[in-house]
Symmetry: C2
Subunit: 255 residues, 2 copies
DNA sequence: GGTTGTGAAAAAATTCACAGCG
DNA sequence: CGCTGTGAATTTTTTCACAACC
């Protein structure tokens, strides 16, 4: 889960479990693909496969939304697209601002998945005066001095932070002060926000680290060559439960 | 949770719960920051705050790794950094390739968080011949024709896919055929892989959709104005559990 | 006194398995 | 029959709360 919330576990979602909410976008994407291929109906089995989950979970998830299927038949694709979109709030227009127009900010600005889902990039904001006026993805970058007025003039409630780590918290504070209540944070920092503000984070390296963990386990099914630990320090070790039973650093990976 | 696995729930982690594994990188990041400030020890309470979780959870997580703390004192920062790094497999060098050097691929290539965590960008690969040879983040882009040889020559086991959605599955197939066993997928598609290959996905728009869901809930605490649904289709509705109890699309957001 | 480590309790999420309906 | 919707069972994750230990 490359996510995380600071404060409040978010409005506790009127009954829909958080885990289900997190999967709705997945279903929506799969359904949209079917819709584009003009597939009229789909069974839980098929849709589950397309979304990469199992069908029991999918049916359970949908059961929290209502009874939108037809027994013996499946789900009407268009209808379900609408219901999920509505549930996710994507039937309305969400103006978002992206702060920090480096490589990542530019990638986000160009990312088609936003526009197609009810999100509208209302403004790109960067602290570098040299960027001001330069168009990225067809939108001129504005200087951060204007942050507050941009938020207010456009009624922006969702902000995306793609700045370096050091700038993230100050930017976050300004966004919140200006009225933003949801923040998507790409900077590798934990943001502190007041109650009532949601933060989700995407940390590009976290996912890679989780992969490394599993990768190591695949490779290290045998090796137990002990490489010396870099000298603890203050607290010394004695307990027997100290080191996990499996080896460490297998030297190379299998071709 | 911007994540997901296709096939195998991954080697079931020799006892360490998946939820814990997913938090280790978080702890590591917080610890690294403390280490840079030369803080020698930290309590579960402090570290938990820095990582954005609660302290009971953190202690429980650490308990799966072993008894690395000192009662009445806390945890030795350096020692814990090492233990977590080792557990995650970050004490070894992981060569990775990034396929698809658009905005996002470039952002990833430039992302400092990789190098600092044991990941080494072994190659950048793009299908566009015009890109070949151009350096991005100091690394010359190579043409996809070379994909297989690059993987093999560098012993790459982790691949990052940052191509457009349509190219993702073919690229994935080639990566896997060439020996890659872990894939981080940024393309908005579900990848199909054989058993033994791990896939994690990061979908930039999914997180935003989850935020929209909560945002909608905050705003829509009152409104119940019904906007007409866009005509179901095949299966018609009749059940009483049809529509969720709360309204839909609140018009605008609060300034 | 302060803080960890962890059983035990509680809550959440997943899976099973099948009744019920089309 | 086929497939949904869902209670019940199971598994996983989180939280509590306190004994053990420095």
């Amino acid at each position: 889960m490359a996510t995380g919330r600071t404060h409040r576990p978010a409005t506790r979602s009127r009954g829909i479990p958080e885990a289900t909410v997190a999967r709705l976008p997945l279903y929506l994407r799969a359904l949209t693909a079917l819709s584009e291929r003009s597939v009229p109906t789909v069974s839980s089995e098929e849709l589950a496969a397309a979304a990469g989950v199992n069908s029991a979970k999918l049916r359970k998830d949908f059961s929290y939304l209502g009874s939108y299927g037809t027994r013996g038949v499946g789900y009407d694709v268009e209808y379900l697209v609408y219901q999920i979109s509505r549930e996710l709030g994507l039937t309305q227009d969400w103006p978002v601002v992206i702060v920090g127009i480096g490589n990542l900010g530019a990638a986000l600005a160009n990312y088609g998945g936003f526009a197609s889902r009810g999100f509208r990039v209302a403004a790109l904001i960067d602290a570098d005066p040299a960027m001001a006026g330069k168009p990225v993805a067809g939108i001129p970058v504005q200087h951060s001095d204007e942050l507050e007025s941009i938020i207010q003039d456009n009624g922006v409630s969702i902000g995306v932070i793609a700045t370096p780590a050091g700038a993230a918290q100050p930017v976050c504070d300004r966004l919140v002060a200006a009225g933003v209540t949801s923040i998507l944070n790409f900077a590798p920092t934990v943001l502190t926000v007041p109650d009532g503000v949601d933060v989700r984070k995407v940390d590009l390296s976290i996912e890679l680290q989780i992969l490394a963990f599993h990768e190591q386990r695949k490779a290290g099914e045998e090796a137990t060559a002990r490489t010396s630990a870099p000298a603890p320090a203050a607290a010394r070790r004695d307990s027997a439960t100290d080191q996990g039973p499996d080896g460490d650093v297998p030297a190379v990976m299998p071709a």
